[in-house]
Every structure is written in C-alpha cells, then in structure tokens.
C-alpha cells in the first residue's frame, strides 16, 4: 500500500478508483451516441478522461490509444493559461491548438470542465474529438500544403466556452462561423459538453458520498498504483541502450535512442531534423504520447493507464525539431509523424527484446478525405477516415489482417452500405489485399483494397499515407510487407498513383482505389508450417507460383 493511501480503507479507495473508470467510460458512451460526425461516433476518433486538480491523468475512457495521455496535457496548459480565480464551477474550456495545450492538430478539440466540491477544485473531466471542419484553407481543414498553423483553421487557445453553466454565445458564434459545416460543429460541441457535464456530476456524487479527503486520496493512490505496475514491468525488461535511424518516405532520416533501466525508460529524440516547412510536425506533447503508447504496450498492456503509469518515462527533444515543433509550424498531418515515431521506437527495440514485439505493421493512419456534392441530395459530403491494414507476424503467429494501426484502437471502419447512403459514392469492392509481401514463418496479415467509385463531377480527394516507399518492416528473417497507396483510375482508364496529395479533383466515373499494406513477416519463410502454406494457397492469400518461390516446394495437395 502506498503512502498516499495510509489511513484510508483500501476497499473504499478501490471502489472510488473503479468509479472513476466507470465515469470515463460513461462520458465516452454518451459522446459516441450523440456526436454528429462519423469520424467521432463511428471511427471513435475521440477520447475522454479525468484528471486530478493539477491535470494529472486519473483515468481514461476507451477509444484510441493515441488519445490517452492527451487530455492531462491539455488541462495542465489550461491551468497555466487561465488565472486560478477565473476557473469556476460550471465552466468549460476549449483548446485545439498544440501551442496552447491542444497536443494534436486543430481538428481535435478538447473540452475540459473543472469539478468543484465545497468550493475547492478537486478534478477535471475532459474529452477530445476530431471535429469535421474548423475552417482553414481546405474543406476538412487538413491540407498537406499548409505552411503555418494559421492556414489550418480557427485556433482556440484554452479559452472559456461556458461560464458558470452559461454558454458564451459570442465564442460559440465565432466557432460556428469559422466552420464550413456549422451544423456538425454545433452537434459535436454539444455532445462534448454533455459528456464533460455527465462526468463532472458523477465525480461530485463520489465526493459527496465518500468525502473530499477520501476522494483525493483515492485519486492519488490510483496513480501511485499505476506507477508501481509500470516499475515492476520495467524491472523485468531487458536493459540497455538501443539506437535506430530510419529513412522516411520523404527522404528525411529520423533517429531514436532508447535506454531501458530499472527505474526509467528514456527516449531521446534530440538528433532529429528541423521542423517541417509543411504540416508534418509533432509537438513535444504529441511525441510524448507516441512514446507512451510503446511504453504501455511493453509494460502493462492490460491494466489501467493513468498519469502514474507514465511516470518512469522520460522524453528528450530538441525544440525546433520535427518532434518538438515551434510556432508557427503547421500540424495537420501530425498523426503520420506520431505513428512514424511510434513505429520507430517499436522497431528500435524489437530485435533486442526477445520476441516481445511483433514485426512492423502497415503503420500509417492512411487518413482518407473525399468530399463533394452528394448526387442524390445535393448536399456537401466529406469522408474523413483512417483505414485498416495488415499487422506483422510475431513469435506467436501470423499477423492480423485488416485492423486499425497502433494509433487507433476501438475504432470502426465504415460499412459500404452506410458509406454509399451517406456519401453518395459507390463502394465497388472491399477485399483483402492480394499484393505479395509479408511472408515469413509467421506471415504478416493482409491489408485491404477498397474501390470508391465517384458519382459526381467536382469531388476532391486528399490523402497523406506513409510506408509507401519504405515498406512495413520484417523481423527475424521474414519478408517486408507491401506499400500503402492510393490509385486513381480515371474514367478513361488512365491511372495515377499517390501517397500524398491534396485536393485532387475526381469526377464521375473515376475510381479511387485504396490499397493498404500487408504487415511484415516474422521468421524465415522456409520455416513456415506446410499446412499453413497450403491453407494460404487454398484461401487465395498467396498465388501458387509466389508460394513456390518464397516458401520452396508446395506441400502435396496444395495444388488443388
């Protein structure tokens, strides 16, 4: 039992801790059911959480790993930016700007609500969600052409949105008028407001029931517990200093050094290129989140994730570098930078940790943006979606096919039936990717192929995929996976290929074919179980001639 829990009944503390988790989950569920944008309610590009009065993460809702460990940073910045006497019961603050606590990019709006008990600030409830359009130079606000954050939309620098329970109309009107989709903005905003209020109410009930001191002790003890769990796992990991440098699709080279000691896990990113002139940047907070994701997967993938869990993690960055970009750098594509960093740390450690990490996965958000007039309703539609892809093989078996990247988690793809209705284009197919690659003793999982058939002239397509030139990496003698790529097949049958493009005009009859990568193979293909090879052939997951070439002679019966 930790020091913070002394004098308190451990069972009561545990009940409060579990109630904090329940409150985060309840906020999450409420927001999911009420949001307007598919990117929130379907993709679940959102997160909820509770921090203590100082902005230390006490608990977080389900959703996506990349949003765990974002809200605490936002709350801490809001506390810095606002005089303490200006923070009052019933207030709600908004931030979306990485220079003002927003962590990610301007589309991700954080709403945070201070929770008071007996006049004292005891906690915060908060959520983050991807709003469809916050203004800026292109529909959807994300442009690979942006050079400064000013081009990416309305900046909300940790300001008050609701004052002692009363919505501040002037702020809301500024927000609405800056969006191309004000109805969505309003709907998503109210979903977020309802969620933080529900969470705050639950916390107030807890304080009323158990008393403020017990509540505060429970929060503190919960974080100490998270720290103990991490430290114990850290002690069991192989120790050492590990380095990796890796060329990116853009040609720049990223470098990482990780040092694992008994009481600290240090990620050094100081030797990295200067910040990008475009939007391929991460803030220091965003880089920290990427490191936290790897750290959590290595130490305690099943347990609670709170501020304490991450205490043993140290991050070193160089201000002005791509992982610690300074104003006015643009951030729209921060997520590819973050997932690259996540994959870089993972890859750096994989060879040395004795099978604790699988081979590389398609490891891109594959953020896909398609918009234009809906041919049936005439209204403007926008698809804003990440894609599923293949995961790497591991010491335990083949990689999964068609699941979201390590950045996303409890995220759902969009059914073709829903997409065709809502977006006014046809999904002509959605299949596993038949591209070669990723073979191994344990092969990588398959990516997917989706054909979007455009039904109306004057639509646009934007994407920014990585792992296009440099493929999902293999481990222990396996073969590399296959690339993430977008192909545009024009009505006249001409073809174009893209990994990064903004605002490409597509017209009726054009097909946008998204192909996501197969994961990397694990282990020498020669060691693959003949029955597994035969099953792959029977299931048409590999062509016979390729199977023969990669795995050697086919087992008897695999030719049928």
């Amino acid at each position: 039992m930790s020091r913070s829990a002394e004098g308190f009944d451990p069972i009561t503390l545990e009940i409060i801790q579990s109630s904090l988790q329940a409150a985060s989950d309840e906020m999450f569920a409420a927001m999911r059911r009420t949001a307007m944008s598919a990117i929130i309610y379907e993709v679940l590009d959102m997160g909820t959480g509770i921090t203590d009065a100082h902005g230390q993460l006490a608990s977080s809702g389900a959703g996506i790993p990349a949003f765990i460990g974002v809200l605490d940073k936002a709350v801490r910045r809001i506390l810095e930016l606002n005089p303490r006497e200006g923070i009052r019961d019933g207030d709600i603050f908004a931030t979306n700007d990485p220079y003002y606590g927003g962590v990610t990019h301007l589309n991700d709006v954080v709403l945070a609500m201070p929770v008071f008990a007996g006049g004292e600030l005891v906690a915060w409830t908060a959520n983050i969600a991807h709003w469809n359009d916050v203004g800026g130079m292109v529909p959807g606000s994300i442009s690979t052409d942006a050079r400064e954050i000013f081009q990416e939309g309305l900046r909300l620098p940790g300001v008050k949105l609701v004052d002692r329970g009363r919505p501040i109309d002037s702020v809301m009107r500024i927000m609405e008028v800056n969006s191309r989709l004000p109805d969505f903005l309003r709907g998503d905003m109210w979903a977020g407001i309802a969620a933080v209020r529900i969470g705050a109410q639950r916390l107030q009930e807890l304080v009323a029931k158990y008393g403020r001191d017990t509540f505060l002790a429970a929060t503190e003890h919960f974080m100490d517990y998270g720290e103990q769990v991490s430290l114990k796992a850290l002690r069991e990991l192989p120790k050492g200093r590990f380095e990796l440098e890796e060329e990116q699709d853009s040609g720049s080279v990223y470098r990482v050094t990780v040092e694992i000691a008994d009481d600290a896990f240090t990620v050094d990113l100081r030797e990295n290129p200067d910040q990008d002139e475009g939007p391929n940047n991460a803030g220091r907070d965003g880089s920290l989140v990427a490191a936290q994701m790897v750290f959590k997967s290595l130490t305690d993938p099943y347990g609670v994730a709170n501020g304490g869990s991450f205490r043993p993690l140290r991050l070193l960055t160089r201000p002005g570098s791509v992982f610690d970009a300074q104003e006015p750098a643009a951030f729209a594509v921060y997520y590819e930078v973050e997932v690259r960093l996540y994959d870089l740390i993972w890859r750096c450690l994989a060879p040395s940790l004795g099978g604790l990490l699988p081979a590389g996965h398609f490891a891109s958000i594959c953020g896909t943006f398609i918009g234009g007039p809906h041919p049936d309703t005439g209204r403007h539609f926008t698809i804003v979606e990440p894609q599923v892809g293949g995961w790497g093989g591991s010491v335990r078996g083949d990689g999964n096919s068609a699941i979201f990247s390590g950045f996303h988690g409890e995220t759902y793809n969009c059914p073709a039936e829903v997409a065709e209705t809502r977006y006014g284009l046809y999904v002509n197919r959605m299949t596993l990717n038949d591209a070669p690659g990723g073979e191994g003793a344990h092969r990588g999982g398959k990516g997917i192929v989706i054909d979007y058939a455009v039904r109306q002239d004057g639509c646009f397509f934007t994407c920014s995929y990585t792992r296009n030139r440099h493929l999902p990496w293999a481990a222990d003698g396996g073969l590399e996976g296959s690339p993430n790529v977008a192909e545009v097949i024009r009505a006249d049958a001409s073809r174009e290929e893209y990994a990064v493009v903004t605002g490409l005009v597509v017209n009726e009859g054009d097909v946008i074919r998204i192909r996501t990568g197969n994961g990397g193979g694990y282990g020498d293909p020669a060691d693959r179980d003949p029955e597994a090879i035969a099953a792959d052939v029977e299931n048409e997951l590999i062509a016979e001639d390729r199977a023969r070439r990669v795995y050697g002679a086919l087992p008897a019966g695999a030719d049928g």
Partner: protein, 695 residues
C-alpha cells in the same frame, strides 16, 4: 385455449449441467396453484433425452400437459463451443472478405498480440455473385446466377452442410437474396440455407453477414434437436404445439423457431427478465430493475412501464479483450458481468483486491463445497460473514466445509494484510460494487434514476445482495420473488407469443412525410399479420405495438420512441418529433434545433397463448414467530455485526411481516435483511423489502 387444458403448464430449461422443469398445476376445482420442480442431468449431444427424462421424473403425464414451453442453450453452446456445421457463404461480388475484415477494431488496444476473432467461414468457402443494388433498393446491375451451380458443387465437395446468403443492400430490397435462395434450394434440395433478410432488415453488411453465417452454422443442429424434441413429446402423447423461449422475452412456436433458430441465442436471461416484468405487473410495480445473480455471472436489465427494452446490437464473445461476433436479432437489452456466487477473489501484486470474472464454476466450486476448491469466492465470504447458514448449505443438502472456506479467506487476508473478516467484507463490498456498476449501466447511463425503480432480484444469489445494492443506489424497495431460484422458468410460463420486426427506412422527418411513414409502418405490420395468419393466428388475437427509431440528422445512434396508433397526419409527425426531443434530452441532457431523421420501424407483434393469472396463496393465519428458526450473528459489513433472526422461508405466509436484521432461508436461496429494513410477504409469496435509510 381453455383454462382446463392449461391446468398443467410445464416449462423445461436445458442448462449446462442440469435440465430443469417447473410444473405449475392449477386445481380446476379450487383454483389453487402448486409449483413442482424437477431436475435431471443434461444429456449432450442428444439434449432432448434429458428433457423427456425430466418430464417423466416430474410425475406429470405428458398427455395432460396443456402448455409446454422450452428454453435451451443449444444454440449458444453450438456457437461458443464451435460445434456447428461447415458453412458456405454466398455474397456480392467484391465483398467476400467482409466477414473477415469485420469492423477492424482492436478493443484490447495496447496489446500488440491481440487476436482478431477468426471468421466462422474460411475464405475458400466464401463465394461471390455479380449483381448489385443501390442503397435505395434499385437495381444497379442484375443478379447473375450462372456461377451458382459450380459454387454449390464445390461446397458439396468440401463438406458444406449449410449455406448463408448475404447480398449488399438486401435490407432495402430482398429480391436478389430471394432469387439466390430459391436457386440454391432448386440446385441443392434439402441443404440448410438462409438469406440475411429473413433474419434482419437492417443495414451494415458485416453485421448482417455475420448474422446469416452464425444462423446457418447452427441451423441443422437446432433443427434436428427441435425436431427430435417435438417427436419425443408427441410420442408421449402431447398433442399441442410446443413453444420455444426467445431472446426477445417472448415465446414462439417450435415450427417457426426451427426456421430461424438463431433467435434463441439469449433465451435464458430473457425469460428471467420477462418474469420480472410480469411480476411487476402482478404486484403493481411497472418500473423494475431486474437482477439475476447466478453462479458465474450477474445480469441486469431495466423494465420501464412494464416494457422490456429490445435491441438488435447483440454480440457474442465480445469484451474488453475481443471484438466478438455480431448477431442482429432482437435480444433483451441486458448487461452481464463476471460476478456470481462462484466468482474468485484475488489480490494482485500491488495489494489490490479483485473479485471475478474468474469463477470456480460448479466443480470444484467455492472452497466451502469441499470439492477441492482452494480459492475464496463470494459464496465463501458470505458464509464466513454468517449470511449463509453452513448447516443449510446448497438447499440444505450438505453442510458447508467451513474449514476450507476459512483457509481460502485467510489466504486472501494474508495478502491484503488484514483479518479473515476484513477479507470477507472486502470481497462482498467489491462484488456489490461491480454489480452496482452494472445496474448503473442499464439505468443511470441511459438517463433513468434508479430511485424511480423497484429492484427485483432472483437467481441463487439475488436475495443475498439485493438490499445492500438497493441501499447504495437509493432505491426504496426490493422484491425477492417466490421460488427465486427457478424464476426464469416461471418467466417462461408467463410469456406471450412475440415477434420483433426491425426495418431500416431513412428519411428526414417533416410533416409532409406522414404518408411515407404510414406506408412503412403498415408494410411491417401487414407482413407480421400475414406471417401469423399463415400459422393460424387471426388478426383479432394479435396485438401490435409500433415504435420509430429517430435521431438528429447526421447522427448515428438512434433513440426509440413509441408511435401512435392509426394513420399519421402532419400533426402526428409533429408530435413524434417532439417526443423524440424529449426522450433525447432526458437521456443526453440537451436538445438541438436540428432536423430529425427517421431511421427505422420497430413493430412488436404479440399474441396471448393462454397466459395464466397467478393465484393468491392460501393463508392459515399463523404467527410469524412460528416461521422463526432461531438467531445467529451476522456481519452486515457496512451496518456492522448484529444478532439476526433466522426465518424459514417455506413457513412464511402472505401478510407476515418482520424487521431486519434477519435472514430468510429457503431451499434455493438466502435473503439478507439488513438492520433497519422491513419485510412483508405479499399475497403471492413474494418478499417485499422496504430498504432502510432511503426514505
């Protein structure tokens, strides 16, 4: 159905270990009702043998049974144990991988070794047909069946026994699926085949494909089982139509269920919740939180105004570690958690106490069973705290092995750093807290205040925890039904014939859409009435309830609101929209000034099948003191230790009342009455507890 033919009503329930029977006999002369229960071993794989055996054992002559209802886990077992048949899937060109791509989610998201659930049909048995519908149901290009003979030939060669068909947009227009189904039956008479629209008319191709596949996978097994059961009872002289318990809290005819047996998937919990709804009606409590505490899990559901809530987003094997498999059939809205009497208590490396979800099961069971179980369970904690009588354990059949229970608790205490009693209290508090969270999920999280509800608790462990849970939630009243341990079977006996129809129909709801709305609802109602009429149930026996699923435009999740009877006009549409705003605001705390979208129709078509009216119990006028067996020290945890009066539940009669601290012991369950609680037995033998300190 006349009352005399219904004099003998029998429910049988096939569980994992035992097949249970409840026989409710009404004396035609006095109207007095008597409940007889019987048990026999479950007999896999020929489950019907156990059913026939338990009927024989109960002493009722099969020929004398007026109403026979049956619940079975045969479907859910075949699914979870992967004992279905080799299934082939036929789907739209370009979509054979839909079943494997699924939704791409990784619920266990920090776990890099997460295993995506494997599809029930491997890729080489997933085949495609050209032909395409638009979302409106209009044909984009015609269905081409020319490849079908070769596909089926291949299926046969590969040992396929059942064929599932799911084509894109069949929820909007089933014609392509019907054509494919018909052709499959022509080409391969006798094969078990199902098309997705026969089960669900809702969109989302992965969910619908999964539904069709899982249904096909169990269909031959369930069909054979139900067929043999029917033959068996008919051979023994039962002339009527057996009814089968469904997941939507209704029963349906055996013949109808045989066609789409997947609807039985959650019939077990459904019967208990329906029992709670019926009990509520009987005793004038229309708003009920129903809680069923068994050996390994606790399940709960909310009943508002006598209505159970039926949903179609049901999944098997889904939890925080796995994405599971969706089945879009009407299932009662329930939350289930891994907390029951057999849940194991453990202390982690950091001194935190956890209860469940691991369970000691029936063998070895709790340490106190004396069967070699070494882990402390909730039951062991309740024994050590004096709540369960060690000399009246498991229905009085055996003595509890107290030294074993104490040893197990001492081990927990040593790890926690406290006394044996501290450990036992901790276990009960954590178990209660887990159940409170589950109760909140079905109430508070959906905008309902538990204080407006009565807690009806049943199952072997319901009475043990109910009063403490109610107190924690501020609920004033608890009801423990008579024969709470066989309450699910009682619920089955009270069920109506019921079918739920869900159909996706999208439109912005404006007053000028009243005619379309009318058409959509009517279409579903006519379909329901036709279906029943074909089975000999006339329109005047049928009762129809209609609901609309609405949302703000661009949202995804919908809110269900009742629709008025009769033809809709502009004013009715206005009223529906307003009803939506109100319901939405109650659930989510705000409303929007935004267009409202109609998403779908939900029609409930039910017919009574000779439901009985429970009779009041006779009263002898004895004193409550006569039911008092003695007194013992009981640890009420938060309320401290007190000398509690012990009552023999079987000796209590209507009208008797007493105060806590007390314990009521019956052969199947123990009811804990805390200090300050007041108990009264009602006319039907149910115990009403007024929870102290909540007024």
């Amino acid at each position: 159905m006349s009352s005399s033919s219904a004099a003998n009503r029998v429910a049988t329930d096939v569980g994992g270990t035992f097949t249970d029977l409840v026989h409710l006999r009404t004396d035609p002369a006095t109207g007095r009702q008597e409940i007889v229960t019987a048990k026999s071993d479950t007999t896999p794989p020929d489950f019907e043998r156990g059913v026939l055996e338990v009927i024989a054992r109960s002493g009722v002559a099969t020929a004398d049974i007026g109403f026979l209802v049956h619940g079975t886990t045969v479907v859910i077992n075949a699914l979870t144990e992967r004992k279905g048949v080799t299934t082939g899937l036929i789907t739209t060109e370009g979509f054979r991988d839909s079943l494997e791509i699924a939704r791409g989610n990784r619920p266990d998201f920090f776990n890099l070794f997460y295993r995506k659930p494997a599809p029930f049909v491997p890729r080489h048995l997933r085949r495609e047909l050209p032909g395409r519908l638009a979302p409106t149901g209009a044909e984009r290009w015609p269905l081409d069946l020319s490849g079908l003979p070769a596909i089926l030939e291949d299926f046969r060669a590969k040992g396929v026994e059942a064929v599932a068909i799911c084509l894109l947009h069949s929820y909007a227009n089933p014609e392509h699926e019907l054509a494919a189904l018909e052709r499959v039956r022509e080409l391969w008479p006798g094969v078990s085949a199902v098309a997705s629209h026969q089960i669900t008319r809702e969109w989302r191709e992965y969910e619908r494909t999964s539904t069709a596949v899982l249904s096909a996978y169990v269909q031959p097994i369930a069909e054979r089982y139900l067929g043999r059961l029917h033959d068996g009872v008919a051979r023994d002289g039962f002339a009527g139509q057996p009814y089968i318990m469904q997941s939507n809290c209704g029963v349906d005819t055996l013949d109808h269920v045989k066609r789409i047996p997947i609807t039985m998937v959650e019939s077990g919990p459904a019967s208990g919740f329906w029992g709670a709804a019926e009990l509520g009606r009987l005793i004038g409590e229309p708003n009920v939180l129903a809680l069923d505490i068994g050996g390994t899990t606790a399940k709960c559901s909310l009943i508002e105004d006598g209505r159970v809530r039926i949903m179609t987003d049901y999944w098997i094997e889904r939890d925080q570690r796995s994405a599971g498999y969706p089945i879009m059939v009407p299932v009662v809205d329930l939350v289930e958690i891994g907390n029951g009497g057999g849940s194991i208590a453990s202390v982690d490396d950091f001194g935190k106490l956890h209860v469940g979800p691991r369970s000691a099961g029936a063998d070895p069971g709790p340490a106190a069973y004396g069967l070699g179980g070494e882990h402390a369970t909730t039951t062991d904690a309740n024994l050590v705290l004096g709540r369960i009588n060690p000399a009246f354990f498991r229905g009085g059949d055996v003595d509890a092995d107290m030294p074993a229970a104490e040893r197990a608790l001492d081990a927990v205490a040593a790890e926690l750093g406290g006394t044996r009693l501290d450990a036992a209290r901790g276990i009960v508090r954590i178990a209660n807290h887990n159940m409170i969270n589950a109760l909140k999920l079905v109430s508070v999280n959906r905008g309902h205040d538990p204080r407006d509800f009565t807690l009806v608790a049943f199952g072997g462990g319901g009475g043990m925890h109910a009063a403490a849970l109610a107190a924690e939630l501020g609920m004033a009243k608890v009801v423990i039904p008579r024969a709470a341990d066989v309450f699910s079977a009682w619920g089955m006996l009270m069920s109506d014939l019921r079918r739920d129809y869900f159909v996706t129909r999208l439109a912005t709801l404006t007053p000028d859409r009243s005619a379309s709305l009318d058409g959509w609802v009517r279409e579903v109602e006519v379909h329901a009435a036709d279906q029943y009429a074909a089975e000999g149930i006339a329109a005047d026996q049928l009762s129809l309830e209609r609901f609309g699923r609405l949302r703000y435009e661009n949202q995804e999740h919908s809110v269900e609101v009742p629709l008025e009877a009769g033809e809709f006009d502009a004013a009715a549409v206005q009223a529906i929209v307003e009803r939506f705003h109100v319901t939405y605001e109650r659930e989510y705390t705000y409303r929007l000034d935004a267009p409202v979208e109609f998403v779908g129709v939900h029609v409930v078509a039910s017919a009574q099948v000779g439901k009985l009216t429970p009779a009041k119990l006779p009263v002898d006028g004895r004193e409550v003191a006569e039911a008092r067996k003695g007194e013992r020290e009981v640890d009420f945890e938060l309320e401290g230790v007190a000398a509690a009066a012990i009552y023999d539940g079987a000796a209590l009669e209507p009208g008797m009342a007493f105060s806590g601290p007390a314990i009521v012991e019956t052969s199947g369950t123990t009811v804990v009455v805390r200090p300050g609680d007041e108990v009264r037995m009602d006319d039907y033998g149910n115990l009403h507890i007024d929870v102290g300190g909540t007024a």
